[in-house]
Symmetry: C2
Subunit: 499 residues, 2 copies
């Protein structure tokens, strides 16, 4: 983004408490100095912003042209204090900032499709440039709205030019392993009566056999990871309010994939009597009536699992000596509105995950990630005996901006764990591990007593994904399972029989 | 309801494939016989339905008056077959049923408030009666709409007369016990940093200490109940579709208390681009735009926990010898839109529960309930040492009809477990145990091979409620906890410290 040659043209006005003509000389001095110093500060020689015309009556009008080094709207803000100084001796006050005209020119090879963006009056493509006409006033400039509009447009131009780059770089791969089973694991599970479809899209009811396998996975995680690495259990909330997703960054991208949660507008039974009567008479749930009686969504169902945990730390300062903190949650379901097509237990709308979260200094985060990688390797190699691999991929918080790219040092970013699915000859992601840098502590305003940087990492262990990988390679018959694992599972309960 | 003296007046028409005049004599014979036999069958002597006038042209018109023994709309249906017989020899067919006028008279002391009920054209109060004018046709009669309308009105009259009777009858009470603590447990937990408010209403984030206490409760349940009584774990879905609540009966009442779940109308990213752009520019989630882009609710969040499990059995026939079946679920959160006021961990919108479900013959269900009661008594007396009591209360499926009353034999119905809260001097329900009779097997069409009756029972163990009861009586300091329990909990982890 640094490389894009932006041009700005802004006509703004400082509203005055009374006519400012008597202060004209002082203002002229400020403008003169600004053009030499204030509006050049931080820019390379010959660059920055320039006041190309100005005037004073009930307002001070300034016309500013600039490049990307001192953006015109920043230039406008830089003028406020020195102008106030020059006006002060005449007891004239600045009452606010208005923007009469604000055009931003952004180079692009191709026009963008038509967009409706807040505070953008018009958007035109003209000989290699997008001309943005903004419709803003002082508070938006102070709230950095223009910068966010520019970032948005620049992202769209890049994503149009380069596509949604997804980085993928192999880090390690296990040996090839001869599968004990080559069928579709979901079909096999259905056939054996271990799972049945739930009443919702992408949802299953898990019988006692597969639940016991899940619990064995959890036991492995407990013995091989949670206990040796010093994890403590917490219970993270499972309905996630907008404020959490604002702070975690998910509010930038989550909408097409989330399940929305709406409360009733009131708990008053009389308010709901007509819905209840309608149901009792027709035996049909009156969805149109209900839609009018529920409130706007308060947020959505758990999507990434760790964001709502940060409410526990929000606004706090931590003593350095309690780091690293390692906590986990396995108290409920995660939900994603997945794309169509039946994908069985590999891709579900409702699934179960153990979420690991660790918090510490950058060094501690990196070190913990290495320890975890070692533990996972041991589990996938020695306990589950999978054919698997790990790859360095675009982290979610970069992917959601529509940008590819990847931190070079392999420090902040994500490792995907993939298992080979013999029945489809494809690789399936069954686990991830992320170093999120300072993203969460910054978003939730968590600080360290020493003032040092605070980072965090997280890793989601999806029980259905582990099961899908394992059953796809080993099948559902315990006789084909690795010895150690089969012993851990023990006898499979056989609770239901159907005629 | 049997005692209410209903009166019916119906004018209906059987549409014919051609003019029926030539069949007049045959029709007269059917009407005559109907008034003597068909419309009296099942009614006490002198009661039932009566055709008071009739005629034939392109339709056969019948005017029927009746009492509650053979309701006029049932009488109409009873005529169809014999009339078709009489018409058949003239090759005249019946093409459908129309209802010209249908008035039902229901006695009541007081008028009801104005209601909008489907298929009710008008509803008037006249000298001790409600006069219902229905607007229906053949399919509604065949679909039993009039009966459901009558049941609804009769319920409303009863509930207006008697109020919402909640039965409560003490079954057993422990000794009075001297509390070790008399404060508000929630305030104490907040003070000690064991819990913090989540981002949603009635939601908490649970730190590592209280999570360990919850896990100890679960361990007690496992050792004292799940293992000795032969329970197997399953995973029940946590988003519940309307169809489940139709079958479980919750669709009759749940609306003011449920959290609704809405999916996006589409997962297409282009469809959501304006929402995302709006957020990225303003940093505000545009709820009005979102409300237009989400679909009608598909159902709601887990409310009663066991209903979605029945999908596993739906439509199946079970061999008798696998009974009783005992399964449990603890895989996620339950949610209720609770009434206002801060009630801390005693009354939450998001909570955690172990749900027990047992299925068997009526005798097995009753026997299992007794075993469970014994186990619970042991836990509350000998392990947690609570001051508690149990009461026989209105079961939920009767309460939701707005009716009190209670099965006399204490067979089908609900036991509430209540703990004394020293800080408020009130009793709090912290657990229940229900014998649901055939409600679920009937609703989900589950049958037994032998044809014998299939019943079920369920019991919800609320972890927050157990904690609220325990902390309210014993406090948060482990030194005041019963020895056995304190040992089971072990050391409390101290993960976070805040400055």
């Amino acid at each position: 983004m640094n490389e894009v040659e932006l041009k700005f043209h802004l006509i703004g006005r400082f509203k005055l408490s009374k006519n400012g003509a008597e202060a004209k000389d002082g203002i002229a001095g400020v403008i003169d100095d600004a053009n030499k110093n204030i509006l050049k500060k931080g820019a390379p020689k010959g660059r920055g912003a320039e006041i190309v015309s100005w005037g004073v009556d009930d307002t001070i009008m300034v016309e500013i042209r600039s490049d990307r080094y001192v953006r015109a709207h920043d230039a406008l803000l830089r003028l406020r204090k020195p102008l106030a100084g020059a006006l002060g001796k005449y007891r004239i006050g600045i009452r606010g900032i208005e923007v009469e005209k604000f055009t931003i020119t952004i180079p692009t090879e191709k026009p963008l499709k038509k967009l409706k963006i807040p505070f953008v009056r018009s958007m035109q493509y003209k000989s290699g440039n997008i001309l943005l006409e903004l419709d803003i006033t002082g508070p938006q400039i102070e709230g950095r709205v223009p910068d966010r509009i520019i970032a948005l447009i620049v992202d769209k131009i890049k994503s149009q030019k380069y596509g949604k780059k997804e980085h993928w770089e192999l880090l390690w791969a296990s040996k090839e392993k001869t599968p004990k089973f080559t069928g579709d694991p979901t079909q096999e599970l259905i056939k054996r009566g271990w799972i049945k479809h739930g009443s919702c899209r992408g949802q299953w009811i898990f019988g006692s056999q597969i639940t016991k396998v899940f619990r064995t996975f959890e036991q492995i995680v407990e013995e091989e990871i949670l206990k040796p690495l010093g994890y403590h259990e917490m219970i993270f909330p499972k309905v996630v309010a907008w404020d959490v997703w604002r702070r975690s960054g998910h509010a930038k991208a989550i909408y097409p994939e989330m399940y929305y949660v709406c409360p009733p507008k009131t708990r008053d039974e009389a308010y709901w009597e007509d819905v209840i009567d309608h149901y009792k008479v027709t035996l049909e749930v009156p969805l149109d009536m209900i839609k009018e009686k529920i409130d706007k969504p308060i947020g959505g169902l758990c999507y990434a699992q760790c964001p709502p945990a940060w409410g526990f730390l929000e606004g706090e300062t931590l003593p350095d000596d309690i780091l690293p903190i390692c906590v986990f949650d396995g108290s409920g379901t995660s939900h994603r509105y997945e794309s169509g097509g039946i994908r069985g237990i590999e891709r579900m709308d409702e699934f179960h995950r153990i979420e690991l979260l660790w918090i510490g200094t950058p060094e501690q985060i990196a070190e913990h990630s290495k320890k975890l990688q070692k533990r996972y390797k041991h589990i996938f190699e020695d306990v589950l005996d999978l054919q698997w691999r790990m790859a360095w991929v675009t982290p979610w918080f970069m992917a959601q901006e529509g940008l590819g790219g990847l931190p070079e040092k392999k420090e902040v970013g994500t490792i995907d764990y993939e298992a080979f699915m013999p029945y489809s000859k494809k690789w399936m992601e069954f686990q991830n591990l992320s170093n999120n840098g300072d993203k969460y502590p910054a978003g939730f305003n968590v600080k360290l007593q020493s003032g040092k940087e605070l980072w965090s990492g997280c890793s989601g262990i999806g029980l259905e994904r582990w099961a899908a990988a394992f059953f796809a390679q080993k099948g559902v018959d315990p006789n084909n399972w690795p010895n150690k694992f089969r012993k851990m599972v023990g006898d499979l309960p056989d609770v239901f029989k159907f005629l």
